[in-house]
Amino acid sequence: MQRFYRRAIKDILENRFLTAITVITIALSILIAAAFALFFVNAGDMLNFWQKGIRMMVYLKTDATEAERLDTKFRLQGLEGVQEAVYISKEEALARLKAQMAHHSALLENLKENPLPDAFEITLKPSTRNSEELGFLAERVQALPGVTEVEYGQQWIQRFTQVINLFSLAGSGIGALFFMATLFIVANTIRLVLYSRRDEIEIMRLVGATDRFIKIPFYLEGMIQGGAGTIIGLLLLYAGYLALALHFAPGMAGGMIQLRFFSVGVCLAVVLGGTLIGWLGCWVSLKQFMK
């Protein structure tokens, strides 16, 4: 096995330019495809975060009595999909608003009376965290006596989900395209090497070398190219990720969401995949070449 490696390495060194071009092209393909994948991973995280954070605000009539309020609370908690209903009085709401607008609190100081309504903040069960269920629940809440208005980020979440879905469709397409491209590049490089070595291969056969003996170094070569290209592509992506994370992450959602890279396991799987593509590309070429 060791001498097969030696032959493969020697081949790579003898075709340095060709190998370099191949590895770079594979690296770029992987970079682009993996960048898409990474985008989905993080977009998915974000969507998840927002969905978890979905709250429904239920505003009450201004003249609601204590009894009406309690009644509404019981009714809300009885609705399917509601996890909890927390009462937020208008005083509490104003205090929160003042805290959030700390620098501009002077604006609020001048208010003669509190313009905010009493409200319930509803947190939802996981099963309700999609726009359809949300809409359905909102209608039922709206129908309750004592409720004037229901507010939630329905439209916005829905649109975001659609965009993500569209992107992931495009992403799968692009991924498949780059898979083909990488395969084609490796196959082509190996084909060129095979062609430049055709006399040598013929001589090897004449002196009794088996196909296996002849092919193994080429397989190794393809796998080394695929693996090396993938590693370089991932390293480039990681460098880009670090730069992005350093510059933009602190500003995102008040640091609540963290950008993340692929896990070590996923990286290893990608490198393995690249190596496998190298193997496959070689297989394609050899199949054509060794009739």
Binding site: E200, I203, G208, T210
Partner: protein, 228 residues
């Protein structure tokens, strides 16, 4: 295949070989015996190289049958061809050395392909190169060698795997008398160790060395055999 001959290592029955419409061998039959020393002669284009090629499946026969050491070449499975070729040590008319490999690597290739141990390979390669006087050029590349030197390397490669049969196509074609003698006594050594030697040549001096059967081809047919 009617007459059984236990001593024949190669048998050719009514072999025809055509390249397109051109006939290179016509209805050619021949037995070559174990440990025989056989010369194949005839003028250029008579079919000598073609005859050798048919034996190691460098070319398939068009018609007829070839048996080599019990293997029927028209029925041989593709993956058995390397085994067939390892029975032969072949000295090609055009040497067929690999230009990107050193002399050592060229000779070692035969042994590597046969799956020999690396430690054994180095020893064996050096020993055959010494026998043809090329040991000191071990690390040179073929293109830096003269034609005669390349031929000697080709001979060393053919012998490295201790083959049962050595096929030599003009093994002394570009050699002076002295070097030719080195090669011939080298082949003699292998013959005395039990190898079958088949040499295609029109070198009269070689033919005059005696002790061998000489067959002459003319236009792809057996013309004469000496001693008859």
């Amino acid at each position: 295949m009617s007459e059984e001959n236990a001593d024949a290592i190669i048998r050719m029955f009514h072999v025809h070989k055509r390249y397109g419409s051109k006939s290179a061998l016509k209805d050619f039959s021949l037995d070559i015996y174990k440990n025989e020393y056989l010369f194949v002669t005839g003028r250029s284009g008579a079919g000598k190289t073609t005859l050798l090629k048919l034996l190691y499946l460098g070319e398939p026969v068009t018609e007829g049958q070839v048996l080599v050491d019990g293997m029927n070449l028209s029925r041989i499975a593709r993956n058995r061809i390397p085994h067939l070729r390892r029975k032969f040590g072949i000295i090609f008319q055009d040497y067929k050395l690999i230009p990107t490999k050193t002399i050592f690597e060229n000779v070692a290739l035969v042994l590597e392909a046969a799956g020999r141990k690396p430690s054994m390979i180095a020893k064996k390669v050096k020993s055959v190169l010494r026998m043809v006087g090329m040991e000191d050029r071990m690390n040179a590349f073929p293109q830096s060698l003269s034609g005669g030197e390349q031929q000697r390397v080709a001979v060393a490669r053919a012998a490295a795997g201790d083959p049962k049969i050595i096929l030599a196509d003009e093994p002394t074609g570009s050699l002076d008398e002295e070097s030719a003698e080195v090669i011939m006594s080298f082949l003699d050594t292998f013959h005395s160790r039990g190898a079958t030697i088949v040499i295609a040549t029109h070198d009269k001096e070689l033919l005059a060395r005696g002790h061998a059967r000489i067959i002459q081809l003319r236009d792809g047919q057996l013309w004469s055999t000496e001693p008859a």
